[in-house]
Assembly symmetry: C3
């Protein structure tokens, strides 16, 4: 990817994004790079002081650093309270999303009754069903499939192969990556004498503004009520969101996590990779679930929750693991011993 | 989703689906709703007595209840031994699947030698390979891809973007959701001096009648024999089914579970979300595996199996987890102490 | 799948692939089968002596066996030091990949400025963006989506619905199964007063020669540097590979595993199904991670690492699991008891 652009000076960046320039502010920068790999003409950043060591060896022409690292380098630098956030803004300046070429590709299929904003694009071989509404400046990439009755706000970006089932609603500035499936049927089954009877899923998925969803993540439609992702929710790849789940604003969830049906997640939560949330439970605002942790009971107190096995060599595991299954016996033996020796 | 329909009375529902009407059977119902959100004119249900409290506040015009909750409300109601199953049937009446418009969309590509039932539909931009057989009343949605030699029974519904590899067989009344991949190569590798040599996967996937598979679930083809899902199997989203797996009739598996190659699952089993089943093992009929549980040895006795870490705060975990790795030492120390104090 | 071919004799196979023929080398073989299911005219194999019992009952006409099983059957046989590897080679001979019919399907969309090898095929309804380079003898199946600036080597096979984002590089002899997404944005977010600011992802994905990636697996593009899969890496289905991950040559990873951002995996490692690797850690060469195991700290010593809960009945689990959370208390009580009784 050619990530270079016409050069800007450190002073120009500070004019645009704030921060304090220290050293030669006239240094010209045409690309971004990590501390280890940046070359002359590139801007880098140090977000975490524990990697300060990399600063010394960096060939970057300038860096973004926090207050604590103000004097950790002699490179020209921008000092800012939040260097990672600052980097995010600069990166958006260096890597603007590709421009949208308005119009519907000749190979796309758009059913009658759809209203697509005139500044939006519908890519090659995409499908747009009946009564779909798409706002302005949206990018509907090739092979995207939007079923009847779906509505999208403005400035959305749907990458190749996204699927949205009928009647779902997507807000503005939403990014859906390839392979995302929004609105498939939830897993609703009633037992009937050893067989399963399907519960039709009559709800929708409602996605708020500024949501981003990673590749191959699935969000099921509600059974009767809707599945809801509030504004600013960020989902990584390969996540499963069951029917009737509600995810509060600005919650972020890492890859491979699973949220079972009717779970309710608060605002500003974070859920680690491969974590699991049981159905019908509730997490209050500001809960942080570690990776590989299963939450099976509601949480009413903000904080971090972790249930991981410690890392072990196979030999350690082979010796220790069998005792996990008989911890109740060990505890009982210990108690018996306590009693016996106390008497003695 | 406009889930309303021309109204029916409670009596009419009871005529059609059975159950005992209590209260005003002439009440007119045009939609379904949950107890919390149902409005006037809507029918709700109470499947589990522990949510009985919601019944009191519900604005539903009528409810479906079990025998135990017969007198828990004064709303007009249908009393039935299995209220959830009853609701499933009523929901299918309120939310019938959209009608199939027979024919092949002009933008679809259908190769020569395929036979598609005249009452079936092939959607926009779909692909159907050579020598494919599709029965009657099937919905092949837009962007579906069916490779050479695949056969489908009647009344199947394949949602946008489903992929079926060559030569697989799909029964009747099968539902495949978007992103499902049937028949990709299994993970077969032979080591050869530090490199891997691919084992070609020459088997198929055979899917029985009345199977439903959730979004982005993958079922690999067999290496030599076939991967088989018997009738009535229900798979949720994001599940991986390895090559040569056999899943017995009416087994249901929740999201993100993984079944390694050549595992054999019995009939009427349930497997919880994110659970894992090792390769080459066998679960007898009527085994229930809890969420987040790994099964690495064959199970010959029906029942429930669970291996989850208990839910912990991060502080509890930080204190306790290190001891898991040295449980063998704790057990040895305990034993030594028992001996020593016994001698004394 | 019709897996039969014009018959070959055991002698002809040995001429081609080596090994020692024992018994009637003129036996004619037209298909492969497992020991349990092989019929007359089929060749089978015994890769693991523990299944030797199946050899006795097999109806195969000939078998491939290791030195140790040389005399375990009277069937005509090829004796070889590595029967599974031998079988892999024979299977490639019996199940050659379907021939590629060069050319671009009339329904595919190929943008200007792309260069596609004349012996390669682009299937129905596929999309190829600008400035894409595809080598010789590649199969780009139907519904594949290749964005601008992607390069592919020779002899690649991309199955239906694969998506490759802009500017990624794919080596030669790479196999990508349906639903694979290469190069979607990594999960990069900077916190800003309770909201998340997206970090644009300006790196690429670089995939070496002889890599195979299973259905619905996702590999994210780097943030600044690239995500790299070295030659011979094999990924199963439903795996998530985060941004900036590096995977060393000939490492194999089983289904549903998750690798968080910037993890670095050595060469010739194996990672089991549903395992998790934390971000920013490093595994040296020749590390083997068991299924369902989370690795949260770097590993500098080759070997096997395992952290699984033992398999339990639900009753065993209910009794034992609560003690896991208070292992620190049990250890403290044990220590106190040791002290007290030692004094006595």
């Amino acid at each position: 990817m050619d990530t270079s652009r016409s050069p800007v000076t450190l002073n120009e960046l500070a004019d645009r994004f704030g921060g304090e320039v220290t050293g030669d502010g006239s240094v010209r920068l045409s690309a971004l790079g990590t501390l280890e790999r940046a070359e002359k003409g590139q801007l880098s950043f140090l977000a975490n002081s524990k990697y300060r060591r990399q600063l010394a060896d960096s060939k970057a022409s300038a860096v973004i650093v926090g207050e604590a690292d103000r004097d950790a380098t002699t490179l020209p630098r921008i000092v800012t309270p939040h260097p990672y956030l600052y980097f995010a803004r600069v990166a958006a300046f260096f890597f603007p999303p590709p421009p949208i070429v308005p119009g519907v590709h000749r190979s796309a299929v758009v059913e009658a009754g759809s209203a697509i904003g005139s500044s939006s694009s519908v890519g090659a071989l995409a499908y747009v069903g009946k009564d779909v509404v798409v706002g302005e400046r949206c990018m509907i990439s090739n092979h995207v499939s939007i079923a009847d009755g779906v509505t999208l706000g403005d400035d959305c970006r749907l990458f190749a192969g996204v699927v949205i089932y009928a009647d779902c609603h997507i807000g503005s500035r939403v990014i859906l990556h390839s392979g995302v499936v929004i609105g498939a049927d939830g897993f609703g089954l009633a037992p009937d004498q050893g067989r399963w009877v399907k519960i039709p899923q009559g709800g929708r998925v409602i996605i708020g503004d500024d949501v981003e969803i990673g590749a191959n993540t699935t969000v099921d439609r509600g059974a009767l009520d809707d599945t809801v992702l509030e504004e600013g929710v960020k989902l990584d790849n390969q996540i499963q969101v069951g029917h009737n789940v509600q995810i509060g604003a600005h919650t972020a969830i890492a890859g491979c996590a699973g949220l079972a049906g009717s779970a309710k997640i608060g605002k500003r939560c974070t859920i680690g990779g491969s974590a699991g949330i049981s159905g019908h439970i509730e997490l209050c605002d500001d809960v942080h679930v570690s990776a590989f942790t299963m939450i099976s009971k509601s949480i009413t107190k903000p904080g971090r929750y972790t249930s991981q096995l410690p890392q072990m060599t196979h030999a350690e595991w082979r010796n220790s693991a069998p005792y996990i299954r008989r911890l109740d016996d060990l505890a009982a033996e210990l108690k018996a011993l306590q009693k016996r020796t106390a008497k003695g």
